[in-house]
């Protein structure tokens, strides 16, 4: 069963990646597109394929995987299906860090300042959430703390962008709150991929510890899980992935909520299986959303977060309702 599921997932990822490379306003035939991408024969077509569409497709996969895996890890650690990086303010705080790095000129002075600043913002938010929600992650405190952190990060992001001397900055509040992959370049791939890869390694290596944690903290500790180390891995892993993803694509919400929710019944409740599956599922979801924004409004920059929220928010309401029925809220 699980092997079939992985096969379907990987096939979907490959199919959607190809579709993402073939869809665009330049009007290339599939043959021209493939030839330009692989052989690089015609200059214009090659630039379109290698410098515009390829980074976009790669970033959709990286950002999606980061958000899906980040969500599954937060939920595994807090043992709460409502914990999602976007909803609890981790993405928003990462965006604030990124905006600060851009507007202070740090990002222009050093190329890695942007992802590091976003990572710092994300670390801060994860620490605040963990401190407020406590180790068990009670739903009410988690959501309330998340609302407060998101609201503050969003307000400060708007403030920084409104104070910028650049006349375009203020109009980009929407980008930082909703996310988009339009006109990104390979530079964005290079600055985000190492952080996302490192975060993924950290989180995936903790799969068995997350499994043990489903039995409760005491049981996990008695099985030899070092809870302090697990928490550190969670903070660094989630912040690294979500920070880098947000630095290049803005804050895209609900991916980390929708994907683990759909996959949990399919792969079983074991986090060690859910974590990699959510990375794959997140990549598929963001690829789909990024293709959809180009098909629905090809001439406008429709934000990814708009689509993920339309899918994710009703699901979030459903989850709250279910949690209440179970008497956990």
């Amino acid at each position: 069963m699980s092997r079939v599921l992985w096969g379907v997932g990987v096939a979907g990822l490959v199919g959607l990646s190809v579709a993402s490379l073939l869809i665009g306003p330049a009007g290339l035939t599939p043959l021209q597109a493939v030839s330009a991408l692989i052989r690089g024969d015609a200059l214009a077509e090659t630039l379109v394929m290698r410098e515009i569409r390829l980074p976009r497709a790669i970033l959709a996969v990286l950002v999606g995987a980061a958000l899906g895996l980040g969500g599954a890890a937060m939920q595994g650690y807090l043992r709460n299906p409502l914990a999602e990086p976007g909803l609890i303010g981790v993405s928003g705080s990462a965006a604030l860090g990124a905006v600060l790095a851009l507007q202070t000129g740090l990002a222009a002075a050093h190329v890695l300042a942007l992802p590091f600043a976003a990572l710092a913002g994300a670390v801060l938010a994860v620490l605040i959430i963990l401190a407020l929600a406590g180790p068990r992650g009670g739903s009410i405190t988690l959501i309330l703390a998340g609302i407060a952190v998101s609201a503050l990060a969003g307000a400060l992001t708007s403030l920084v962008l409104n104070l910028s001397p650049n006349p375009f900055a203020a109009s980009e509040i929407v980008f930082w709150m909703m996310g988009s992959l339009q006109d990104r370049s390979m530079i964005h791939v290079w600055i985000s991929a190492p952080f996302i890869g490192l975060g993924a390694l950290i989180l995936l290596s903790q799969g068995r510890n997350f499994d043990a944690l489903t039995l409760g903290e005491d049981a996990a500790a008695s099985m030899g899980v070092h809870l302090g180390r697990l928490r550190l891995a969670l903070v660094l892993g989630v912040a690294s992935m979500v920070g880098a993803a947000t630095a290049v694509a803005g804050a895209i919400g609900f991916v980390g909520l929708v994907v683990p929710h759909i996959l949990r019944p399919l792969v079983g409740a074991r986090p060690s299986a859910l974590l990699p599956a959510s990375a794959l599922g997140g990549a598929v979801l963001v690829l789909m959303a990024d293709i959809a924004v180009r098909v629905i409004l090809p001439t406008r920059d429709l934000k990814l977060g708009v689509l993920t929220a339309i899918v994710g928010a009703p699901l979030f309401l459903h989850l709250i309702y279910k949690t209440r029925l179970q008497g956990q809220l």
Binding site: G27, L43, L47, G105, P167, E172
Partner: protein, 286 residues
């Protein structure tokens, strides 16, 4: 009828009062119009700032818009620094007690109607979309300021310079590329600057009319010989990231020549001649 009489009484009175006030205002306005050129002129639009500075008599122009002090868009920075600035707000402008306010068609309609309600004469000048419309604009400002002679001289100079500058059209194709992939197609001042300098505009080839966005993919596919970028502003923005996207840099790297669309491209004033001259030079050199 009798019952309604007490009601109509005061209302007709009010009406009479209004019409009396209107009459007085009209008389005042007519008086001002007859009294000769305005003595206190305030400009609240970057483009009217420039025409007013070129044409006004000494002391006639008492304030220009703060945008005239922005080096990114203002071509007459040094001259503008001799004038106090305004931020185009109704209350602030009214306080200067102007007898003429020069504004653009897209100046906030609230500000314009507020000033008019307060009895200030406001002239709104249209956006200039072609080189041919520049003389009309100069003459209009000249008429408003009572400086017709100076305006006619300026127009004559402009037209002579333009005729001398106009380059033969060639097969060199240029693209304008601003923040957010904004560009200018046919029926825009930037398009006419390009064509006057002998370049074909690729955005017009793509069917764009006026200003608008053209996806970077499409711009790359059009393979322009010259990419003319917008001037980057201080501070950072994602909108301006597209100006130095690797794909655009690769297009630029194909030719040695490159150019910046700066303040000289913004307004329909004789400053566009300098933009045309610089472009035409590139064209001959490249």
């Amino acid at each position: 009828m009798k019952l309604t009489a007490p009601l109509t009484g005061p209302s007709t009175l009010a009406l009479r009062r209004v019409s009396k006030a209107l009459g007085a205002a009209l008389a005042l306005w007519a008086g001002a119009a007859l009294a000769g050129p305005p003595e206190r002129v305030v400009s609240i639009n970057l483009c009217t700032d420039q025409l007013a500075m070129m044409l006004a008599a000494p002391g006639q122009l008492i304030s220009v818009s703060h945008i005239s002090h922005d080096p990114n868009v203002s071509v007459m920075l040094e001259q503008a620094q001799n004038y106090p600035v305004n931020y185009g707000q109704g209350e602030e402008v009214f306080q200067l007690s102007p007898d003429l306010v020069l504004a653009g068609t897209f100046t906030s309609s609230y500000t314009v109607s507020l000033l008019r309600r307060l009895g200030v004469e406001v002239a709104q000048l249209p956006i200039v979309n072609s080189l041919d419309a520049i003389p009309d604009n100069i003459l209009e400002v000249g008429r408003l300021l009572g400086r017709e002679v100076e305006a006619i001289a300026l127009v004559a100079q402009f037209e002579a310079d333009l005729t001398a500058l106009r380059a033969d059209s060639s097969d060199m194709r240029a693209a304008l590329h601003y923040a957010n992939n904004y560009t200018s197609g046919e029926r825009s001042l930037a398009h006419e600057i390009l064509t006057a300098a002998g370049f074909a505009n690729v955005a017009a080839e793509a069917g764009l009319v006026g200003g608008g966005t053209l996806a970077m993919e499409r711009l790359v596919m059009l393979m322009p010989d010259l990419v003319i970028s917008g001037q980057p502003y201080p501070g950072a923005s994602r909108s301006e990231d597209v100006l130095h996207h690797p794909a655009m840099d690769a297009l630029r790297a194909r030719h040695a020549a490159h150019a910046l669309a700066d303040a000289e491209w913004v307004c329909g004033t004789p400053a566009v001649l300098r933009a045309i001259a610089r472009l035409a030079m590139l064209h001959e050199g490249g």
